[in-house]
Point group: C2
Chain length 428, copies 2
């Protein structure tokens, strides 16, 4: 035994295809999600937990659309006495009709006896003090008045459960006088790096050591899709260290993401420990990069009865940074977004025209990092590669806003071919 002879030589995990892997992960996320209330100032980028109904009509009164004069429309053009004014938010008027009008500003309540507004541009001061001349009359009753409830009717569903809240929706919530907003709780996502070779960024590198880039990268990524990042640090390649980190994750998170420790080396403890304490749903995925990608669930009392906990989802990412990057976008991001209530947790997919030849991989579908942009000349979305796609070479992920889904095949894709791209950032 030992001495590097009787080491693992093949994986016992069957290879699953990427779409199946994503389905398995998302199906395990089908638990009852929790809601909470947050203040209007905190609600951006969250997902609504309940429908939001309008508490009142918008506008709540007949509002003038223009700066102008509230009139009785039938009285038409002519000389009028300006009997008073109503500015937005300040009520005061005298009388409208029988030769009288009232000056109104945009958004001001139109006096009850008026049935139209004539904008100032259609009028001029008359010779006589205190009077104006209406040159062009209001063309019809109701002109330049927004009736009560024009924009929103009281009781109307203004936003629906599962809807994402961005700028416009924040405005709509305010419009409907909602301050405490029911939203899905965001998932707490713990991030753990494993490996004796890893040191924190900013320190000295001893021989054989490298900086842990996966954890800062994944913590940033978790935040970018609305998860709450929980930093579990670096665990050494020892059973006890990895087990302790798992237990910490049970206490502090809903999801645990590990990186490293999923190969077949004799120091790769992630899969064996996940199998010991939980259920490994898959341990190999037909993809390049990312083949050793692993997914497991751990039940609440796996470690000890006394620890308050709930069911945890664990994703074991490979140690190579590019594998981490690709697997994050394909699997982790949809999981976090699903747990945070997003109706459609997936990244958008579009077809793009390639701007260079691409050598396909004969064994595995490849998720090729690319820059996707709108080509004005071609009037189409196009993609260029980010360069050499080695799984250790994080430079291949630099600026990438798309993953080209390249089929497994023993040939080269010519320039101008249409391929599917998963958008992982805004189009250039």
């Amino acid at each position: 035994m030992g001495g590097g002879v009787d080491v693992p030589r093949s994986s016992s995990y069957p290879m699953v295809e990427v779409p199946a892997a994503v389905d398995i992960v998302l199906s395990q996320a089908e638990r009852v999600l929790e809601g909470e209330h947050v203040e209007l100032e905190e609600v951006a980028d969250r997902v609504l937990f309940e429908d939001v109904l309008a508490q009142g009509d918008v506008p709540p009164f007949r509002a003038s659309i223009k700066d102008g004069y509230a009139v009785v429309q039938a009285e038409g053009p002519g000389i009028y006495d300006v009997s008073g004014e109503v500015t937005a938010g300040r009520q005061s008027h005298t009388a409208v009709g029988n030769g009288k009008v009232v000056y109104v500003t945009t958004g001001a309540p139109v006096p009850d006896e008026a049935d139209a507004v004539v904008q100032v541009e259609w009028t001029k001061p008359a010779e006589e003090p205190g009077k104006i001349e209406i040159i062009t009359g209001a063309p019809k009753v109701g002109h330049d008045i927004r009736p009560v409830g024009t924009d929103v009717k009281k009781g109307q569903t203004i936003l629906s459960a599962r809807e994402e809240v961005h700028m416009a929706e924040v405005g709509l919530l305010a419009t409907c006088n909602v301050r405490n907003v029911p939203v899905y709780k965001n998932a707490r996502v713990a991030v753990l790096s494993t490996g004796d070779e890893l040191v924190e960024a900013g320190g000295e590198l001893g021989f054989g050591k490298i900086v842990d880039s996966n954890r800062p990268m994944l913590l940033a990524a978790v935040g970018s899709v609305g998860g709450i990042p929980v930093d579990l640090g670096i665990a050494t390649d020892e059973e006890q260290a990895v087990t302790s980190a798992f237990m910490e994750a049970m206490l502090k998170s809903d999801v645990l993401i590990t990186s490293g420790g999923v190969s077949m080396g004799n120091k790769d403890f992630i899969k064996p420990l996940l199998a010991r304490y939980g259920t490994v749903h898959f341990g190999r995925v037909m993809m390049k990069p990312g083949k050793p990608l692993t997914f497991a669930t751990i039940e609440p009392n796996a470690f000890s009865e006394g620890v308050p906990s709930s069911r945890k989802l664990v994703i074991g990412l490979p140690g190579n940074p590019v594998s981490c990057f690709v697997c994050f976008h394909l699997v982790v991001s949809p999981l976090i977004r699903k747990l945070s209530g997003f109706r459609s947790p997936h990244n958008p997919r579009v077809m793009v025209r390639t701007k260079m030849e691409l050598k396909l991989d004969p064994e595995r579908p490849e998720y090729h990092r690319a820059l996707v942009s709108w080509d004005v000349g071609q009037r189409a979305l196009t993609a260029v590669t980010t360069g050499i796609q080695a799984s250790s070479r994080l430079l291949s992920a630099r600026s990438a806003n798309g993953l080209l889904v390249l089929p497994r095949a023993d040939r080269t894709l010519p320039v101008g071919e249409e391929v599917e791209a998963i958008l992982i950032g805004q189009i250039l």
Copy 2:
């Protein structure tokens, strides 16, 4: 005078086209931007202030690409003595060559005397204890070894000034052992609502009052494009209230965004006060919605010599919430992004096929809120309208991820026409 007779009847500001307006705003943002250093954990979504050079080679040592055996390639297949092991991060080996190999794990330093790695799958334990059989030898010298500096060379520019930092770039910074990252300071953006009719969300609505939806909406929007939102509250329609708010903005922000008070009503003080204390660069824009959009600059000592200040950029948005929404995306968002260092501050533009008829406006180009998605059948980006486009109707901005740039014309655009869309959110 007064009594609603001698009120403003026409704007003295010339009408400018939207592209000219955007150019004017961005040209005023051409000041020296400041940099600062932030920790790796805080750097996501920021823009680099300086080039970042690799402090060392990646990998810093010859690293094994596989779990396997470090060999002298020329010795080929056969029975070998496993003389020791080197696992990632732990140095210990005995000897390679002359019938000896060393077990290495992925990422481990390959012993100096070895010139290739044979993956474990190509080997099996031999009959004799402590020995393995190499069934398939390494095809060539260097096989499955990453040479020093393969991924990154010491001194290489790994990221450039003006580059955005997202997930991959965080990983690259860590890889290069950078903890304190030089980035552009984010712009502080003060948001002020004006209007006697406005009340805070969550309160009682008296007659003639409406909830201030613009400010929560704009504060959220500022944050979403990387600005630091500063809430200046609601100013009443009085010169003194608006002036005080301007002075507060001089102290607390780089940019001031106001909403309301830019029409021609006798309570619209924004333009006159901006003209009094600063320079109004434009006060009317040829667009629908958003015509009264105003842009001004205020010099450092406009209000008092004693107040520490710098030059401020002020954008006066119309009070209608949809005008605010559209003007934010067209003008404010590029401004904030430019101030925060973004090389390309504009939203992406693509061509989309319309899925419904669109009535064009004969007087002004319209920025029509729409849902842009990839249509699998048409293999093209397509757009549907969000519905009635009244400028008070914020529901027309709900879920919108695109603004269709509709030309000014007295006709109806048929279904299936190609129009330009400004993407303001991820494609569906």
